[in-house]
Symmetry: C2
Subunit: 450 residues, 2 copies
């Protein structure tokens, strides 16, 4: 399995000089990713591609090839895979579509036979393949100008749907998420979600595993592996085809029988998999689990400079079963001494639209040592004129103590976004909407407080 | 009421030369907004402010003053309002806080007495005041560098919480929403949500009314007015303080008794008010209601170039009670003739990652005239290399026919955002997440198909 993620040489079969062709984009992206191994473009009609010598077949290459990425028309794939077998290439990423997902079961069975014969491991067909930020591997046929790759980080993503996965990557890059590995495995002819989860479970660069699935091939094995891995790191799953109408569509998509959602729900719960109901939830859960330290309990103290936001946050936290208690008398006494009488020292602590950065610092200092507070939810609305943006330094300072999870909500335009980015670079999870922060905190508590 | 939104002259009482003071920011913002009326800065300690002659009191101004914005410390407000009364200023926006929301009921009662005596209408206290894009009125004390004002449009927003309202403005500006009027009315001592809804109901520049409330002063009157206005234009309400913990916090925020959420829910339903459960929902509902034409039925045809996205959209639409039916035999025949056999011509129509702009055009042409389709949900993932961005021209072209609502989902980074912006400028509602698009379509159907 490791060879898929750190191959020393890669053949790109179907490499092309046409900029709009998949084969061209893959070759270009892999080179632009800074891949340090050897690349062999394969195309019988070209001699040079992007300044690399081009071969008419893998059989014409003398050196050993660790992995082949195949992006040729469906009707010649069998011949191509046969050649890979003869060349002793044991790892194939098959981008090509046109197999069981369009009813072409026969081609898929023949493909299966060939890879079995040559002991080839295969990802796909009908997929995007791999991204490994830690080895500069990138087999995605999506131009970097259209799909920005996320920076290095600790989230890995396994996806049955290439489109879903790739747009997730793009948005995660925009939102400053850190990424480790991405695997789009399509029809799962050979390598399935189960093996991938097992691999990522042992991957030191992965701390959170996200999964988009439409169906699971071997339920029993999946359950066993997921249960084991979920003890080490959180697995977040989003299931496609949870309704009758959606399930019908999965059949034509990845040729998968979506199965009863109730059964999946039960299995996910049994394996301690965190279930996301939407892509947005998946993003939010991954963010808090990647960035936050474990909480010691579920008492949340809200600190805000916007009353309405504090109330909305309190509503959502409370609906999630999190606890909103008054801070300790000590905290109340300290802050009442330091704050003007218009501030409200309860839960939420409302520093009002007049708040200065120093007020946030005072409040944070008090609640950090308050034994009645487990988690701090900070609402910082940067729009008020008096709020010095030094407030971010305070938040970073207290977060570095690693004593209690600090989660921040800020809503607004570019000015707000700038400070949000700074906080997130310092491992502080930031949210735009109070309800999303509350759901994420709930997931954090559920995962760590059992 | 109209005078609040189109005053010919405004006094800013408490105007200041300190850039961090509320009085300075209000003066500056009003000037920068391009307000064409006369501005009178009032400050006993200054002679000139931002190149405008400054007066020590409104009584020193000879000309008539239509409206006063008051941003002075709480303890001198009564004297100031008395002066306004003597000067015959009949419209006051009271920014100053420190009244019933901090337990100072007595000051609020005295304030009430003075305005009654002089027949003054008052917005506030403890509020941000007004924004009217159509008359360049801006009394918000939030610097434009931190809070970008949205462009002209048809959404108006009434908010009891200034912070909630202002951050909504900021995010709406970033997301290209068009805005008409914004009113933050704080403690609602005189003018309440009911009068504001009535006013906006008759405002030709307002087509969608958004409302954030923690409590409603006169339930009976509110119900009557809202019922009447909701027949003309949609009202979307978000309620703060829907839980025991949240309701406790509203008391210290705007001195309001939040009341039982169940009663509010019932009243909103009775008045045909659309209930948003989160700020994000409010944004999404406002967007679709501002941009979309009414649908004729609830049969949604999904067209996608990403299978997984199509499935997720189908799941959410179906859960919302919207109908996913097969397109007519005519549509299927036409498209099967024009498309490669890898495309799936059902519902969703999956044009796959190989889709060209022309494929979208063909599909749109067919479903626009398909009698089995009421609403078109287009998923356009711009990340694939073959998809010419001319696809946006096609969407704009078919949307201009005003025959069926077209809603677009696109997820991704800056490249995607660029085309999303173009579509939204052409009145096509665009969403990032499939579930949000589905909820918005549900609201659109609920509002128009009764």
């Amino acid at each position: 399995m490791e060879k898929f993620f750190t191959p020393k040489s890669i053949a790109i079969i179907g490499a092309s000089r046409d900029h709009h062709k998949v084969g061209f984009v893959i070759l270009k992206n892999l080179r632009d990713a800074g891949y340090k191994g050897r690349i062999y473009p394969i195309n019988p009609k070209a001699k040079i591609l992007l300044n690399e010598k081009c071969y008419h077949s893998v059989l014409a290459v003398k050196e050993k090839i660790d992995m082949a990425v195949i992006a040729v028309p469906a009707d010649i794939t069998l011949k191509i895979v046969e050649e890979c077998g003869k060349k002793n290439i044991q790892h194939i990423v098959m981008i090509t579509a046109g197999f069981s997902e369009i009813g072409n079961q026969r081609a898929e069975e023949q493909l299966k036979k060939i890879i079995t014969k040559y002991k080839i491991r295969l990802i796909g067909p009908n997929c995007l393949g791999l991204l490994n930020n830690y080895a500069d591997i990138d087999t995605l046929f999506l131009p970097a100008s259209r799909l920005v790759r996320p920076k290095n980080g600790k989230i890995s993503f396994i996806t049955q749907s290439g489109a879903t996965g790739s747009t997730v990557l793009d948005l995660m890059a925009k939102e400053n998420y850190g990424f480790s590995k991405f695997i789009s495995y399509g029809n799962a002819l050979d390598i399935t979600e189960t093996e991938l989860i097992e691999y990522l479970g042992n991957d030191p660069h992965t701390e959170v595993i996200c999964l988009y699935v439409e169906s699971i091939k071997d339920g029993k094995k999946f359950l066993k592996v997921a249960q084991h891995v979920a003890k080490k790191k959180p697995i977040i799953a989003l299931k496609g085809g949870t309704t009758k109408e959606g399930a019908k569509a999965t059949l034509s998509h990845t040729a998968s029988l979506a199965g009863s959602y109730e059964i999946y729900k039960g299995a996910f719960a049994q394996a301690n998999i965190i279930q996301a109901d939407t892509l947005e939830d998946m993003f939010n859960y991954a963010k808090i689990l990647e960035k936050s330290i474990p909480p010691k309990g579920k008492r949340v103290q809200v600190i805000t400079n916007g009353g309405g936001f504090g109330i909305l946050a309190t509503d959502y936290l409370s609906r999630m079963g999190l606890l909103i208690e008054e801070p300790s008398p000590e905290t109340i006494r300290t802050l009442k001494k330091k704050c003007p009488k218009t501030y409200i020292i309860k839960n939420p602590i409302d520093l009002t639209g007049s708040a200065f950065a120093q007020d946030y610092d005072n409040a944070l200092q008090a609640v950090m040592k308050d034994p009645k507070v487990d988690i701090i939810l900070l609402i910082i609305l940067y729009q008020t004129p008096q709020l010095d943006t030094n407030v971010v330094s305070s938040v970073i300072k207290y977060n570095k103590m690693h004593k209690k999870p600090i989660i921040v909500i800020s809503m607004g335009g570019d000015f707000t976004q700038k400070y949000k980015n700074i906080l997130e670079r310092h491992q502080i999870p930031c949210f735009t909407y109070p309800n999303n922060a509350a759901s994420a905190i709930k997931v954090l508590c559920d995962y760590y407080l059992k």
